[in-house]
């Protein structure tokens, strides 16, 4: 009896590896991050409709009131309800930061894919531009550009997007170079695949994971940058309930003990960036496994 015959029959089932999605869902960091980011996303979408007070209504008689049953987080210098403003204040940052990230990711992925696959002079110039941008403090560049172009949400989005693009491109390029070193790219060339097919059908699906991780990491930095810029006075103007702006406006009174005027906005900002970062880390772990 030939054993080869048996071989065909009883190839044992390989234990299927748990899918990445399942690994992700089981991770505590992912759940916590998703809960935080989800909460703020809902707040940005529906918050202004649900909050107990009008975030813009001033009430000079109740200015700087400490947290109470009526005003859970207290009121600010103009007597506006801080709880309502914190909830409503998520809208600007959660519009600007994701759009900037999206722009940076799309432009950066295109650049990185092109740089990695084309190589040559294009890749060299890209490499130098990346090096310049890495050596520049984002906030400082942003200040220069915002002054030059005039501050507006659109400028901020384009600016952060363009600053992120080379950083995303660096990650994508490295991933693409890693893929090109693998034999399947040579195999595809030998089979007569076109360059475009190799770029989009062979390589692209394998770098989507790193792109997703990088985009999430970038989103964290975008929130960081947008919040910092609005704190520095280059974000939405009054009477916006934006967190950074609120802290800048009320920072002057905290020495008088009015801690609630800034603490809740600070906590909101911190929770959002930490949430995004937890998501990024969980994605990174799931893809690395």
């Amino acid at each position: 009896m030939s054993r080869e015959v048996i071989a065909a029959g009883v190839v044992p089932e390989e234990a299927p590896q748990p899918s990445r999605w399942r690994l992700l869902r089981r991770s505590g960091g992912f759940r916590a991050g998703a809960a935080i980011v989800g909460f703020w996303a809902l707040a940005a979408l529906f918050g202004p409709m649900l909050v107990p007070w009008n975030p813009f209504a001033t009430d000079p008689l109740h200015a700087l009131a400490p947290p109470s049953a009526a005003h859970w987080f207290g009121t600010d210098q103009l007597g506006r309800d801080i709880f309502s403003r914190v909830i409503a204040g998520s809208r600007d940052i959660l519009t600007i930061a994701p759009l900037a990230t999206l722009l940076g990711t799309i432009v950066g992925s295109a650049l990185g894919l092109a740089g990695g696959t084309l190589g040559g002079a294009f890749d060299f110039v890209l490499g130098r531009i990346i090096e310049v941008l890495v050596s520049l403090p984002l906030i400082v560049v942003a200040l220069l550009a915002l002054v030059a172009f005039g501050a507006s949400p659109a400028t901020t989005i384009v600016l952060i997007g363009l600053v992120f693009a080379p950083l995303v491109a660096r990650t994508v390029r490295a991933a693409v170079l890693g893929e090109i070193a693998l034999d399947y790219v040579a195999a595809a060339e030998l089979c007569g695949e076109s360059r475009l097919a190799i770029m989009f059908v062979e390589i692209l699906p394998n770098v989507l994971g790193p792109v997703l991780v990088e985009a999430t990491v970038r989103l964290g930095y975008a929130v960081f940058a947008v919040a910092s810029l609005s704190f520095l006075g280059f974000g939405p103007g009054p009477p916006s309930p934006d967190w950074g702006l609120a802290i800048a406006e009320n920072y002057g009174v905290i020495a008088g003990g009015y801690w609630w005027t800034v603490s809740f906005d600070a906590a909101a900002t911190a929770s959002l960036v930490v949430g995004v970062n937890l998501l990024a880390e969980a994605l990174h772990q799931a893809l690395a496994s």
């Binding site: 520049l136 200040l143 002054v147 910092s228 995004v276």
Partner: protein
Amino acid sequence: MQDGPAAWLARRISFGLLTLFLLSVVVFAGGQLLPGDVGRAILGPLADPRAVAALDRQLGADRPAVMQYLDWVLGILHGNLGQSLEFRAPVSPFILGALAHSLRLAAVALVMVVPLSIGAGVLAALRRGTLIDRVISLAGLSLTVIPEFVTSILVILLFGVWLRWLPISATWRAGTGLLGQLDHLILPAIPLVVVLFGYIARMARAGTVEALEADYTRTAILKGLSGAVVIRRHVLRNALLPTITVIAAQTSYLVGGLVVVESLFRYQGIGSLILAAAHARDFPMLEAGVLSVGAMTIAVTLLADALTAFLTPAPVPGEGG
């Protein structure tokens, strides 16, 4: 791979100079070309067009961009960073004074963060899987991304307002030395420490874990060396070399942090100078500020490269491997 360390360093320096050139183009474009009519920007929308044109001519803003750029660069090379529009005075003294202040604040932050973060990273690696490791790892992950103004608010409330341990203004009093000013610098340094801590600690942890699991560490353990010798001579030596580059790479975040922290704590450093120039639309001051911090970052990166090259044993001969 064939280069000796000298050739390698020469290449790094030439890349650094190229980066500096590109930076200057970006700054020049951002500061002088894009804002459009400089004279109008200074004199305001109601000024007489003839006065605007005269000012443009005086400032040289009516000439071709390349000529303006060359003039500007030549000026910088001669130590002339331009005239402040706001103060009607050369910007160089402002920049130099502010840089000196910022360096002191940065030094205080680095003196605190480097031992703290490396120590925490190594400790987490040595106790990996335990509660300490998880706390350090999670802290590292979260603290890195919290904006400095948030942490600043927290430390001001905690140490300045409630506990009243430390002054919440860092304004440099004339005539004090670094030590006399130190108590004013600790509070503003904390937000910088918090932001830098996470990344350095994570890299130190990763490097140490890798070295701990390496076969050469097992070889050392099997020699019967004591735990302390194994860790000092075999683990840390290999684990911490890459940390130099990691710390240098944080310089640009540090500068970004300075802008926020210095303005919050009313400290006369380069960050608050840049922010003030931005609000006042004082372009020469803004350009000089951005250019100088950019140049500093490039220099720090180069220094770290050189240090790493110096500390790395024996370049690989031949085709390596």
